[in-house]
């Protein structure tokens, strides 16, 4: 009997050792074996097989550029299709199918000169007529696009999208085969950036008309980007190869790209470590510390065009008409603890609404310059001023969508509110779609009935302050705080008609200052993008949009 016991114990020890060994993760030899030899002697020798395997988050809903939505779709769309403009590796907008353009004095009329050698993947030329067809299709309510709003600057786009005007009335016309004229409803400084969004991509009329809903299948899908679709296996992979007719095919190095849907980021990281992916879509926040310690040269963290915030319901008590209380809650949060201890990936503490974008100086609450102790002091004063005290504390509910990271942040904030102000916070988490539903529930008086404070995150659609400013406009469908300030709205309307970049930025900055005074939202941090990339992938440059065209990448020998 004694022997048997000993044997069992030994077994247990072996099992424990196996588990500990597996968890410790100190062995970083995998995937690093050849790192010293990357790129041969000169460091720029290319690998024989130019195959790129990218983790891509989720399976795209559709490969139709006018129906695609979400970040994973966008990555594939940028490889398959090309708009009038594209982005350089650093995110600058550069010529795509259009080799040059002229903009009229008043900034409303754009004439694009298309490349004579722009071709579809079936060899046919890409013409101005293709773009006319495509813009109309993208906005046609029958197409069921979700991104019609992004084309709103085009003359009559909104009327076409809502079905009140026929698509032919859209302000886009072909002057000849290679000249395209686009008329805007008013000057729009970020318009060239909109043209590299998938809603602006050309689709091949012949293939759309011949195959109907089946036109996005391999074999049917004709595209005009650097790659063409050869294989699609839902929830397994999407395989694309070089488009031999692409006008800049000579500069393309990667021959084959495999996109893998990786909803589970922990699995994605394991596949990366096992050498099955060259590039991941993200890094699970709990693994960032591990990656910083073990694979620091493969972990990329870069500023990303997004703001993480808490929205406040202004349409009912306790937050309606109580700016002091909102300010107290805002100031009591120590953002550095959130970014460093909880989120932990180098996020940037936010005292403003608009993340760093081009042609804009982000505004901050005046208290941003204070020490945290001073902010907490002021928070307590405002809390008392708003009529709350230790005997009669504020009780509120924070709603967030179910995700471990959101939960940890909510718990952190609740404990700060508790210890500094004495606020009693209850936390409520809901699965994403339920959360959206709850957050938007309104009664007939336009009062949001369900929420008090809710978690929010906004990722900009294009590199411009306006994609953030417009969210808080009283007419915005995304303004879930119910924030209405005519001064704010007026400044936005002025900005959207202003051709002078500097003047426009001033309007938007002034609007942001108003927003930070009213505080319908509590800004918490600006996002960063995080991902892992193998040392032998060359050409990957960080940019605020986190867009990485496969055609700009190379695989070095390793």
């Amino acid at each position: 009997m004694r022997i048997k016991k000993g044997h069992r114990l030994k077994l247990l020890l072996v099992a424990v050792a196996l588990i500990l060994g597996a968890c410790s993760g100190n062995d970083d030899s995998v995937g690093m074996a050849g790192s010293l030899m990357v790129g041969g002697v000169n460091g720029d020798e290319l690998a024989e097989a130019q195959v790129m395997r990218r983790g891509n988050g989720a399976e795209p809903q559709s490969l139709d550029p006018h129906r695609a939505e979400g970040v994973p779709s966008g990555n594939i769309q940028r490889d398959l299709f090309e708009g009038l403009t594209i982005e350089a590796p650093n995110g600058d907008v550069i010529p795509g199918v259009a080799e040059s353009w002229r903009i009229s004095e008043d900034g409303r009329i754009y004439v694009f000169q298309l490349r004579a050698n722009a071709r579809w993947s079936n060899g046919g030329p890409v013409t101005a007529h293709d773009f006319v067809y495509s813009f109309r299709r993208s906005l046609d309510p029958e197409t069921l696009s979700r991104y019609t709003f992004i084309l709103a600057p085009i003359l009559n786009a909104e009327a076409v999208a809502s079905g009140t005007m026929p698509p032919a009335e859209l302000g886009v016309r072909a002057l000849d085969d290679h000249r395209l004229e686009i008329t805007l409803r008013s000057v729009t400084p970020y318009f060239l950036g909109v043209l590299n969004h998938s809603a602006s991509y050309p689709v091949h009329r012949g293939s759309v008309e011949a195959h109907g809903n089946r036109w996005t299948r391999p074999g049917n899908l004709v595209s005009n980007g650097a790659y063409l679709l050869v294989e699609r296996f839902p929830e397994s992979h999407i395989k694309i190869v070089r488009n031999p007719y692409y006008w800049d095919n000579d500069s393309t190095v990667i021959d084959e790209v495999w996109y893998y849907p990786t909803e589970d980021s922990a699995s994605e990281l394991r596949r990366y470590r096992a050498g099955e992916l060259e590039l991941t879509s993200t890094v699970p926040s709990k693994q960032i510390g591990w990656a910083q310690e073990n694979l620091p040269d493969q972990l990329v963290i870069a500023p990303y065009l997004g703001t993480y915030y808490y929205g406040i319901n202004l349409t009912k008590p306790p937050f309606a008409d109580s700016p002091a209380l909102r300010r107290a809650l805002t100031l009591a949060i120590d953002r550095e603890i959130i970014t460093e201890e909880i989120a932990g990936a180098g996020q940037i503490p936010a005292f403003g609404w608009v993340p760093p974008v081009i042609n804009y100086t982000g505004q901050q609450m005046p208290e941003a310059a204070w020490t945290q102790a001073e902010r907490e002091e002021e928070a307590r004063r405002l809390y008392l001023e708003a009529g709350y005290s230790d005997e009669d504390p504020l009780r509120l509910e924070v709603l967030y969508n179910t995700l471990e990271d959101h939960r940890r942040i909510a718990v952190g904030i609740a404990s700060m509110w508790k210890s500094i102000l004495g606020v009693e916070t209850s936390l409520l988490n809901q699965e994403w779609r339920v959360f959206l539903d709850t957050k938007r529930k309104k009664d007939e008086m336009n009062v949001y009935t369900e929420t008090e404070v809710f978690r929010g995150g906004w990722i900009g659609d294009y590199n411009d302050a306006f994609t953030f400013s417009e969210l808080m406009h009283s007419g915005s469908g995304l303004n879930d705080s119910g924030y209405i300030n005519p001064d704010y709205d007026l400044l936005l309307e002025l900005a959207s008609k202003e051709g002078d970049l500097k003047k426009r930025a001033e309007y938007l900055q002034e609007a942001e200052i108003i927003l930070l005074k009213d505080l319908p939202i509590i800004p918490l941090y600006f996002y960063v993008s995080t991902y892992m990339v193998k040392p032998w992938v060359k050409g990957l440059t960080t940019n605020i949009m986190n867009h990485h065209y496969s055609k700009n990448l190379q695989i070095l020998s390793h």
Partner: protein, 307 residues
């Protein structure tokens, strides 16, 4: 016998109808709709979307339409995978889930019965304890812990096997998912086999066989194992269900494009047709499988009558 057949088959139809109705109305009761997203849709486009998927009709009409299409073998278009139909998704996902599930089942039965028999034959020996400790571990460690551990050890550290993906249907890619899916079942089957074999080995007819001087191997294979497997066979039905539900987790962890993965994504995205399609498909499968198990049981055990 024929009577028994017909009655069982007739019993299947109301079962399936109730299943379909429940699934159809329950998923529509879940808050949030298939077209909800952070971006708010133009009312015009939302109306078009709803019309395109017939969501603008009254529920009973939608249900009738659904049943009508189903009778023609049409599961409808997917809400989430907008380029594809549910039938196509099931057709691509099912062979993969089947391979995974069948692999896990075969693996579980072979190793479970083997381990259980070994444990029973050498009852209360070290081998017995070893098998039982391992099987206890297999039952108590959930697969979402076991699967990542297996990947870390065999894919990341040792580099013997792929960490995930389909790998073009390569057998290497199926090894870890099959093992991860089979482990809890091996454990159950081993315990069932052990218990029942120990009991059989003590029974009178085995003693008689031994007294007649039959070799132990023959006694075991010819006389003892068949009755000892009865509880295992009746466990195959629940095992199938467990493997199907288990595959939901396993397919997600290993990035395998099977029905389980579609089901999870479909449920999260309120893809009504996809969820319905998979529920109906699996419903039919499980009902049929239970039916087959009953037949097998009747064959194995003369005490079960067809009456």
């Amino acid at each position: 016998m024929l009577n028994y057949f017909v009655r069982r088959i007739l019993g299947i139809i109301p079962t399936l109808f109730v299943l379909m109705a429940l699934a159809f109305f329950l998923i529509r009761l879940a808050p949030g709709g298939p077209f909800d997203s952070e971006k708010v849709l133009l009312p015009e486009i939302e109306a078009n979307l709803r019309a395109a998927y017939h969501l603008d009709e009254p529920l009973y009409q939608q249900f009738a339409r659904y049943l009508g299409n189903l009778l023609q073998g049409d599961f409808g278009p997917s809400f989430q995978y907008r380029d594809l139909t549910v039938t196509e998704l099931i057709m691509t996902g099912f062979p993969i889930s089947l391979r995974l599930g069948a692999g896990a089942m075969v693996f579980a039965v072979i190793f479970g019965v083997l381990a259980g028999s070994v444990a029973a034959l050498w009852q209360n020996s070290r081998t017995d304890y070893f098998v039982m400790v391992i099987s206890m571990t297999g039952i108590s460690v959930p697969s979402f812990v076991m699967a990542p551990l297996l990947v870390l050890v065999f894919a990341v550290y040792l580099g013997w096997l792929p960490a995930g993906g389909l790998g073009g249907g390569s057998l290497r890619n199926m090894v870890l998912p099959v093992v991860a899916l089979a482990l809890p079942q091996i454990a159950y089957i081993a315990r069932l086999t052990r218990g029942s074999l120990i009991e059989i080995l003590r029974s009178n007819f085995i003693r008689t066989a031994k007294a007649q001087g039959l070799p132990m191997g023959k006694i075991l294979l010819v006389h003892a194992l068949k009755p000892a497997l009865l509880p295992v066979v009746s466990y195959l039905g629940p095992a199938t269900a467990a493997i199907i539900t288990g595959s939901v987790v396993i397919e997600q962890i290993f990035g395998i494009p099977g029905l389980g993965r579609f089901f999870v994504q479909g449920a999260l995205n309120r893809d009504y047709t996809l969820v319905m399609g998979i529920v109906v498909f699996y419903g039919v499968l499980i009902v049929v499988f239970n039916f087959l198990v009953d037949l097998a049981y009747a064959w194995l055990d003369p005490k079960v009558r067809y009456g």
